[in-house]
Symmetry: C2
Subunit: 195 residues, 2 copies
């Protein structure tokens, strides 16, 4: 999600500097490697200085996950714009994001942020991702019939593929190639597609 070296903090936006340092820690060692103390050390401030911006580690993780979902939405949107087959492109973008940013992806969808409802920003970023995904699916015309169920199926499919890849259950396969193949398979004809 970020460069892996933290930039020393000189001036200005301490919150952004802490987030950048935390994103680097996440990239390097996953959720377990993220701490307010270490982020503060890298930025060159005392741990106490961080509490003005983040009440606790979970608040820091929620802010990181928010940035993650924002980047995720952007990646899916750009993919859908470029390709004529927007759902396939978006599916590939979904899996690519997971494979390139495994620490962030696990943070976004995993149990590290125990209570997502504590952060309205995170909630909004998740809702935005869902909206981008649903939009891409609609462009394919598959959302007729039970639109909610069709969207959930597409989401579960890409998410399952991403997780199985990250967790080494598909050794020898390229996750993006699989995503392309799966999204290009015809989805069920949900009776009529009204345009």
């Amino acid at each position: 999600m970020s460069t892996s070296r933290a930039v020393p903090y000189h001036h200005g936006d301490l919150k952004a500097a802490l987030l950048e340092a935390a994103a680097a820690l996440l990239d390097e060692g996953g959720v377990a490697a993220v701490s307010l103390r270490e982020a503060a050390r890298r930025v060159g401030v005392t741990p106490a200085a961080t509490y003005r911006h983040f009440a606790d580690k979970e608040a820091l993780l929620a802010a990181l996950a928010t940035q993650g979902f924002e980047a995720f939405s952007k990646a899916m949107q750009q993919a859908a714009r470029k390709a004529p087959e927007s759902f396939a492109a978006m599916g590939v973008a979904y899996v690519r994001f997971a494979v390139r940013h495994p620490g962030m992806f696990r943070l976004m969808f995993g149990p590290a942020v125990a209570d997502r409802s504590r952060s309205p920003e995170l909630q909004a970023a998740i809702a935005k991702s869902t909206q981008v995904f649903d939009q891409g699916l609609k462009m394919r015309g598959d959302a007729a019939g039970d639109a909610g169920l069709a969207a959930l199926r597409a989401w579960a499919l890409m998410h399952g593929l991403a997780m199985l890849s990250l967790d080494g259950m598909l050794p020898g396969y390229d996750a993006e190639t699989l995503a392309r193949a799966l999204t290009k398979m015809p989805l069920p004809a949900n009776k009529k597609v009204s345009t």
Copy 2:
């Protein structure tokens, strides 16, 4: 996967007693709660006594995951046998297993066992699960066309649904109901279905 109280070890099979204690730890607190030392304490032997059976924590986790995949295969097989719609039943069994045994499911598919190839027993148990799943899918007649891809799609779909449920991304929904709905949606007609 087991009762949540460990039975004190009196006689006989120390390896089985340690596995049972470790399964209880997994149920209670997830992968992080499992340790050879604590399993030994519950069974009433010294930590040193465990090393005859498990070289390290990863060996213990691999043995636990093996038992998990065996139980998982059995659950899917039983589900497929009972119902006429075997794939739907199997999909529900997949998600039900995840929801009822979250610690075990995360261990089986997650990163805790870093190198699955170290355990031939685990490899065999995973292969068996895959085989049961593929078999159930074939009974539906959807595996025509590219059978490997159709099986992967079904797997990714159920796995994604299980993970999204476990990770609280589908609040307010019952995972088994969703699994039933998704597996009953028509899968793509893969051109010809030859019987």
